[in-house]
Symmetry: D2
Subunit: 321 residues, 4 copies
């Protein structure tokens, strides 16, 4: 399907449920997509960081993307992460994603190797030229250890290389500078880069990003409570900023589940992914809550902590005892 | 004077004008304070990073603080930065600041040495016990290379060690988590830490911070256009979020002056400080725009670029030629 | 072939020559392997960082490894890098490498995702259990942004998970602590971890590493002048430390070729790889000196600078003009 | 006294013993200096990082320096650290150090503020011009978060600004490149920068640094066992490299005391400083082993661990039980 221009709204990075053998649980993934569509989301981002793309083999990536696309059934666009170290490897993923019917591609700067702004520009331009799908740049310095410079994003937006930016840098000041440079909150959409979409991956400051002129959000926590992010988005679109902020605050509280797994036992990303996946199991969306190897599983106590957060948020019934 | 509880509003980190010998230009500094008070600011932060505190000798720090306090004349509270590597050295500054009549102290985590959360907690507790002034924690990882953990700040807020936080971490997600943990936008002020003030130092996302429940802002750019930050603050207080966002956007555009000095020639902090100080000279507030040694001066072209930004913002009359 | 225990000597990370289409130039790669074997190297490391493994598709990785193994013809062991983000993806590479006849595998800690010591330990243990080849840990924080803790390496050495360590961390102090903990320069080989090999990737301090008890070196510059690294190694083995240091010093001078490409134009890794590959072309070993996309090519001036370094080192005849 | 040219040998950064009130224990410091002189050291570095300079008030810095200088009694040169954020503040320390009879100054790049190579160069040139004492650059990125570029050090060495470099960067490859550029192990001393001294602060790889052509070492652990570092140095000077390496290996084992304090309780620098100071007390050199506030003290178990290391090294008699 053609992307809306600009791409906008709530576009969760879809978790990848796994079975007991560590393979993609397609039935659970299909249910998860329905859960998200029922929540009113505007798009789906398969094979992102929250999808544990870094832990999926090429075969598993294909299965996950195909499952999401099939379950989406053309109701919303499906973006596909094409995450790998450099252009030649990313291209292999991009061609597979195109074959599987992705509506847009999401690519990071090169990683593992050191890189350079001129190399990053060439990387995105080559991807765009080689595969005929809209291309979204994924700014995620925590993973790739390079921040996409606002000037570079702007240049690639204005020359038509990029259809959008997913900003997971956490640098809301730089995001504001980019939004302002691209025409600001009003005089859009987007002055010098028509149709360019700015999506924030900072799920704790979505009200702020929308107030600043962002078009949408890619929230990992949106797997757990998609309807709340849609309410937040709708409130913002209607100019009800305090209602949006109140929704955001509720989600910030819910987000605390990411600390369930102790730092002495696992990485912060494993704790967060484990919490989201445990929540999906507790909500009955998926069959299991396990994360991919070599991440460590949440303990029973940690899962109980996740459940407590779901009850506090009203997503599970209050416990009786 | 007693601090308002909580401390709130626009509290610029006051630039330190220098004379041709690199000494504090007290006449210019006095005029700058008046410029800020005329703009309607709610407090003054002397001896912060934007004050070039790291470049001022102890004697110069004393002169700068005394000048600011005298010029403020009790109209607004004066916060004093007590920036040094560890507790014993910070204490020396704190006692001098108390003697000079500061209304509150602003201290960072230890730096130069490596540190630890338990050492940081002891540091703030000892400062608070030793000098009888409200203490604000200054979270500025770009300078001290340690981020104050939200749990630590919360603990020190709740036990009364800290009267507030100045958050210059740029991590608006963490700030949101702290604000939510401390009672959120409503149920304040501040549930478990009554009177605790949260001030953002992120001058490009002030509307967002206020929407999230922050009490005020410490904007470097507020030296140049204090009235605009006051308008932004007032709009937010009145619930006019889109007006606040429009003011913010104008300030984001004005802020671009910080790139006037080229990266090949000077540090990013020198370029920003040079731009603010050049602007103050161009506005007729200070006599000179020079930064402290060993920072490199802005070129004539860079100063012309600053002037262009001032004209675009309507702070200088449009040029005729 | 069975690995010597411990693996030792000069084991260059073999560059991957490319043709004009960016495909592996197998004829040039075969000549490069002969050049290395003629230089007296003790092993070959295919698909390492210097091999531009991060830029090679899976198909290209297979061709490169097969070419190296065939050209090596069993004369020295061939180690294969299995570089990917996490265990499941690394396993795919490991199985292909085993099928292609690699004599050992070289794997990093997980990257792109954040990780944790316990996850890293599980990662290496699972790789070792799943593929029956000796496993070498590759400590390269510049690429993966995690340093392998000496205690962890020691634990995995002592329990037989690891056959060796390739230390490209640049942290020679930590390496010394590990060597000392594993029995030191004498009481080897290797006290609690019999046969464990410590290889340094720090090509500028090989004399130091050998003096400290390391078993060998994996020098990128060894592509250009393998015989010199063999001389260095032999001198050290014979206890002629000042001769070793003199060889090292000559190689440090030659290494300066890595700065040929200007920082304003390309990443530091692209400049280094470009210099090594330009040198191989100038020496007549390979047909072309190009690096993989999206790296930028060296300019003619930069190549001339590389040539100058080769002449100074006596690897090319002095120029006449 | 005039510095030897080049400055060379073992120059420990002298610990600063504290009394129960946290003040400089001058009697203990005097004994420590004698302990070091008895060990045969070639110089003393007061007010370095290991001296806890970042924790000492200006008054305490003066007392410590004066005590060291008096106790040294002209037998060896006394270098004084002048550690502060920027040039104007460093100058204040430099003038005091000159007044107190320091034989040379040791200064870092600016810190707290961001800086730039051109600002760093101006910083060192101004210090050298303003105070008539030999100036040593202190490269300690762990503390100041800037690495001194080898080209910059070389430029400042060749133009006479710097009398030497204390390299605590841990980057032995960069050090080797600098040494090679300055004439190498032989053709010294120092080709283009006559008399320039290269001192390593990497106390675990001193044999390597001396083999590479360094002139000396500034070892924190040298407080505990100065004689061993002098033996290492003498063996290296005599060309007995394996004897030097054996001494180094023994010191690497002794160095493990720095891990006595657990990471969950204190910073790594506090653990190391606490171990060195505990060792000095256990050896009877100083009266107390306490570190400066807000560092946390070693537990009794940690001190027992330090004692165990001293016994293993033969510095304390074996325990009888």
């Amino acid at each position: 399907m053609a992307l809306p221009a600009p791409l906008h709204g709530v576009i969760p990075p879809v978790c990848t449920p796994l079975d007991r053998h560590g393979e993609v649980d397609t039935a659970s993934l299909t249910r998860l997509v329905r859960h998200l569509l029922d929540g009113g989301v505007h798009g789906l981002f398969a094979l992102g960081s929250t999808s544990e793309v870094a832990y999926l083999t090429d075969a598993q990536r294909g299965i996950a993307l195909e499952t999401v696309r099939t379950a989406a059934a053309g109701r919303v666009p499906v973006l596909a992460g094409v995450i790998d170290t450099t252009t030649p490897r990313v291209l292999d993923h991009a061609r597979r994603a195109a074959d599987l019917g992705a509506d847009a591609l999401v690519a990071t700067a090169p990683f593992y190797t050191r890189t350079h702004p001129r190399e990053i520009a060439a990387h995105f331009r080559h991807l765009r030229a080689a595969v005929d799908l809209p291309l979204v740049a994924y700014d995620i310095p925590l993973a790739v250890h390079t921040k996409l410079a606002p000037e570079l994003v702007r240049e690639l937006a204005e020359d038509g290389t990029l259809a959008g930016l997913k900003d997971s840098s956490g640098d809301d000041g730089a995001l504001r500078r980019l939004l302002t440079a691209l025409g600001g909150r009003t005089g859009r959409h987007r002055g010098p880069a028509p149709g360019f979409a700015v999506l924030t991956g900072s799920e704790l400051t979505v009200d702020a990003a929308l107030l600043a002129g962002a078009d949408g959000v890619v929230p990992g926590l949106g797997n757990v409570d998609p309807a709340a992010y849609v309410r937040l988005y709708d409130a913002a679109r209607a100019g009800h900023w305090e209602r949006a902020a109140a929704e955001q605050e509720r989600l910030v509280t819910l987000f605390s589940m990411v600390d369930a797994g102790p730092e002495s036992e696992m990485s912060r990303s494993s704790s967060a992914l484990g919490a989201f996946k445990a929540a999906l199991r507790l909500l009955g969306v998926t069959q299991r809550g396990s994360t991919a190897f070599p991440q460590r599983p949440l303990s029973e106590e940690a899962v109980a902590e996740v459940a407590r957060h779901l009850r506090t948020a009203g997503l599970l019934p209050a416990q009786q005892d």
